[in-house]
C-alpha cells in the first residue's frame, strides 16, 4: 500500500491537478464538464473555474512585467471587441461568487462595479466603453486571473485564434499563432492529426452551446518553476534543459507542469474562451505522494520518443524517471 505522509505535503500538492489516469499517457480528446471536484491521492482539485492560489500576486506582477517588456504577448483582431467584454462579464461574476470575501461584482444595465481586495482595486466601468477601465479590456481581464486567455471566433465552419493574453506559454507563441485556424494552431503536434483528435475537438467545440463549460488537462515539464517558457524567450530557458541532467538538485529543479484548460462558449459573442492555468510541482514535492511518484515515473519511462521530443523533455525524462522510480 502506498501511503501519503500528510506532514510533508505542500499546500500546492493538496490542490494539484495530477493529470494521469494510468501508468502510460497518450493524447486524446480528454474533455469533461467543468467545474467538478476530482479527488487525488493528496487532496483534490477542480471545484472552481478560476483557481486563486498563494502565487496570485506574484504571477500577476510577472504577467504585467512581461506585457510591458513584450507587447506581442497580447493580441486582438479588431472584430474581437465584444468577445473580450463577454469574457469580462462572464468571469468577474464567477470570481465574485467563488471568492465572496475578497471580490464583489454588481451590474446595473451596462454599468458595472468591481471590487478586488486582493489587488486593492475598486472600480466602476461601462460595458463597451474601454476608457472606463484602468487599461485596455483584454489586458484588464488578464490582470485579474492567473490563467492565460485565448479567444476563438467561429466562422466559415472553423474556429480562429483571434485574440489572447498569453504570457505563460509552454513553448508556443501567440504572436505567431494569432489569426490562425484551430487546426493550424495544432499543426506542430505529433500524432493528433492521424488520430483525428484535433478535428474531433474542433467539432465538439463548434457545437458547444452558450454558457457551456468544459475542461481538459495537458502537461509537460519545466526546469525551475519558470512560467514564461514561450518561444520568444527560448534562449533564456532552453539551455537549462541540458544542464539540469547532471545537477545533484535535479529533483528540486525539475517540475511537472500541468495546464488546466477551460473551454467556455461565451453567451453573447458566441466566441470560445480558452483559459490556460499553469500549475507546477517539483519532483521532490511529488515524492511526498508515493502513488504520484510511481505513476509519473512510469509515464515518463514509457512515453514514446516523438511525444517526449515534442514536449521538449527528452534530454532529462529518463533521469527523472530513474529518480522517481529508484527510491
Amino acid at each position: 500500500m502506498l501511503s501519503t505522509q500528510e506532514s510533508t505535503l505542500t499546500p500546492s500538492a493538496r490542490r494539484f491537478p495530477f493529470p494521469f489516469r494510468e501508468d502510460s499517457y497518450r493524447y486524446s480528446t480528454n474533455v469533461e464538464p467543468a467545474p467538478q471536484f476530482v479527488p487525488t491521492d493528496a487532496g483534490g482539485w477542480g471545484d472552481r473555474l478560476i483557481e486563486i492560489d498563494p502565487h496570485y500576486g506574484s504571477e500577476l506582477e510577472e504577467r504585467a512585467a512581461i506585457l510591458d517588456r513584450d507587447p506581442s504577448r497580447i493580441a486582438m483582431l479588431p472584430h474581437m471587441g465584444p468577445a473580450v467584454w463577454d469574457t469580462i462579464t462572464t468571469l468577474l461574476p464567477v470570481l465574485a461568487t467563488d471568492y465572496p470575501d475578497v471580490m464583489c461584482f454588481t451590474r446595473e444595465g451596462r454599468r458595472c462595479h468591481w471590487r478586488n481586495d486582493l489587488l486593492g482595486l475598486d472600480i466602476d466601468f461601462v460595458i463597451g466603453d474601454a476608457s472606463t477601465l484602468p487599461m485596455e479590456p483584454l489586458r484588464f481581464i488578464g490582470s485579474q486571473i492567473q490563467d492565460d486567455i485565448a479567444l476563438l471566433d467561429q466562422r466559415e465552419d472553423a474556429l480562429w485564434l483571434d485574440a489572447g493574453v498569453i504570457t505563460f506559454a509552454a513553448d508556443w507563441s501567440l504572436g505567431f499563432d494569432v489569426g490562425m485556424r484551430f487546426l493550424e494552431v495544432h499543426g506542430p503536434v505529433p500524432r493528433v492529426h492521424e488520430e483525428q483528435i484535433i478535428t474531433r475537438a474542433q467539432q465538439f467545440l463548434m457545437r458547444l452551446q452558450p454558457g457551456e463549460k468544459f475542461r481538459r488537462t495537458n502537461w509537460t515539464m519545466t526546469v525551475d518553476r519558470r512560467l514564461d517558457t514561450s518561444t520568444e524567450t527560448y534562449p533564456e530557458w532552453g539551455p537549462d534543459r541540458l544542464e539540469v541532467v547532471d545537477d545533484p538538485d535535479l529533483a528540486k529543479r525539475l517540475h511537472l507542469r500541468v495546464e488546466v484548460q477551460h473551454l467556455i462558449r461565451l453567451p453573447h459573442s458566441g466566441a470560445i474562451l480558452f483559459l490556460v492555468r499553469t500549475h507546477m510541482i517539483s519532483l521532490a514535492e511529488i515524492s511526498a505522494v508515493p502513488a504520484w511518484r510511481q505513476r509519473l515515473g512510469r509515464v515518463l519511462a514509457e512515453l514514446p520518443e516523438d511525444m517526449a521530443d515534442y514536449k521538449g523533455i527528452s534530454r532529462y525524462r529518463h533521469a527523472a524517471a530513474q529518480w522517481l522510480l529508484g527510491g
Binding site: 486524446s28 480528446t29 480528454n30 474533455v31 469533461e32 464538464p33 483582431l77 472584430h79 474581437m80 471587441g81 465584444p82 468577445a83 463577454d86 462579464t89 451590474r107 444595465g109 451596462r110 460595458i127 463597451g128 471566433d153 467561429q154 466562422r155 466559415e156 483571434d162 483525428q196 474531433r200 475537438a201 467539432q203 465538439f204 457545437r207 452551446q209 452558450p210 454558457g211 468544459f214 453567451p267 453573447h268 459573442s269 458566441g270 466566441a271
Partner: protein, 323 residues
C-alpha cells in the same frame, strides 16, 4: 420565426422556469410574449439570432429572441398563430400574464459573423424576429447593418421597432415585385466583406439565396435561419440486453444509454458525455447502434461492434452489449 421542435415534446434539458410578464398584440395574428425570472433575476445573455424552445401543453416550439442579448432582464418572442400547426402556437396565444412556462436556455444557430464589414439583413413576415435581435446588437456595438423587410400591408410585425432602430438603414417592401427589385439592387451594391442573413418562409429564403448566388455571392457569406440543428434530438426509447447477466435495461427518450446504465447500478467509465473523448466505449454483441458520436471512425461505425453509450442509441430492438 418559428419551427416545430418536437410533435410530442421531451423534457427540456436544464430548462428555465419563467413567468409570462407581458403579452402585446403586434398584428391581428402575431402576438409578443415577454418572460421574466419569477424571482426577478437576470436571465442568461445570448448570441444575437438565438432561439428558445417554449413548452406549452404537450407541445414545444422554437422561437427567436428579439433582444440584443446583452441586457437580459427578460426574453421576448413574437409568435404567429397557426391554428392547425403542430407546435402549439394556438395554445401559447391563449396564455395570460402570470402563466408559468418551461423555457430552454437560448441556443445559437444564426449568429452574426464577427468579421463582417456590413450585415445585410433580409426578412419576410414573422422572419423579422431574429433580424430585430441582429439589428439591436449591431446598433449597440456600432456595427454596420441594414435591413430589407418584406411584409403584407397591415401585417408587418415590429414596424415601429425597426423604424426607430434603423432609420435610414431600413427598406420596406409590401409586394413581391418591389421586393425583388430592391433585392436586386441590394445584392448588386453590397461592398466586399458583407454578410447576408435571411429569415422568412422557405420559398422566400430560397428566392433570396438563389438570387444572391446568381449575383456572385460566395456561400460562406450567406446565412439562413436553420432551426433545430444545434440540439441532439432526444431519440426513440429502446431497451438493451446486458450480455453477461442477461439483464434488460430500458432507455427512455431523452435519457442516454450511459445514464440508464448508471441508474440501474452499472459503472461505465466516462469523461465528456458528449461523444468525443472515447472513455465510455462498450463492445456490441448484437444489434445495430444508432451512432451519434464523433469518436468512432466511419469504418468502426459501419462495423457496428462498439458503441459510445453517452450519446448513441439503438436502431432496432435487439441491442446487446458486453457488460
Amino acid at each position: 420565426m418559428t419551427a416545430t421542435a418536437e410533435a410530442s415534446a421531451p423534457a427540456l434539458h436544464n430548462a428555465l422556469e419563467l413567468v409570462l410578464a407581458d403579452v402585446t398584440d403586434r398584428t391581428p395574428s402575431i402576438r409578443s410574449f415577454t418572460f421574466r425570472d419569477p424571482a426577478g433575476n437576470e436571465l442568461p445573455p445570448y448570441v444575437p439570432g438565438s432561439h428558445i424552445i417554449v413548452h406549452s401543453g404537450d407541445k414545444a416550439n422554437a422561437y427567436s429572441l428579439t433582444g440584443s442579448g446583452v441586457l437580459t432582464a427578460e426574453y421576448t418572442i413574437s409568435v404567429l398563430r397557426v391554428d392547425n400547426g403542430g407546435g402549439g402556437s394556438a395554445a401559447l396565444h391563449q396564455l395570460a400574464p402570470g402563466a408559468r412556462l418551461s423555457v430552454s436556455r437560448p441556443r445559437s444557430a444564426f449568429a452574426p459573423v464577427a468579421t463582417a464589414r456590413h450585415h445585410l439583413l433580409i426578412a419576410a413576415g414573422i422572419g423579422i424576429t431574429p433580424m430585430l435581435s441582429h439589428m439591436r446588437a449591431a446598433t449597440e456595438w456600432g456595427h454596420s447593418a441594414s435591413l430589407l423587410y418584406a411584409y403584407r400591408q397591415g401585417e408587418g410585425a415590429h414596424l415601429d421597432d425597426v423604424r426607430e432602430l434603423c432609420g435610414e438603414r431600413l427598406l420596406e417592401c409590401t409586394d413581391r415585385s418591389s421586393f425583388l427589385a430592391a433585392l436586386g439592387v441590394r445584392l448588386g451594391e453590397q461592398p466586399l466583406g458583407t454578410h447576408l442573413y435571411v429569415c422568412g418562409p422557405q420559398g422566400f429564403m430560397d428566392t433570396v439565396l438563389s438570387a444572391a448566388a446568381v449575383a456572385g455571392w460566395p456561400p460562406s457569406r450567406l446565412h439562413s435561419e436553420p432551426f433545430g440543428t444545434a440540439d441532439l434530438d432526444p431519440g426513440q426509447p429502446f431497451s438493451v440486453t446486458l450480455g453477461r447477466s442477461g439483464a434488460v435495461v430500458d432507455v427512455p427518450s431523452g435519457t442516454s444509454l450511459l445514464k440508464a446504465l448508471e441508474d440501474s447500478g452499472h459503472k461505465v467509465p466516462f469523461m465528456c458525455r458528449q461523444g468525443v473523448c472515447g472513455e465510455c466505449i462498450l463492445p456490441v454483441l448484437r444489434g445495430t447502434p444508432e451512432h451519434r458520436d464523433l469518436y468512432l471512425s466511419e469504418a468502426e461505425k459501419t462495423a457496428n461492434n462498439s458503441i459510445m453509450c453517452c450519446v448513441s442509441r439503438s436502431r432496432d430492438a435487439g441491442l446487446e452489449i458486453d457488460l
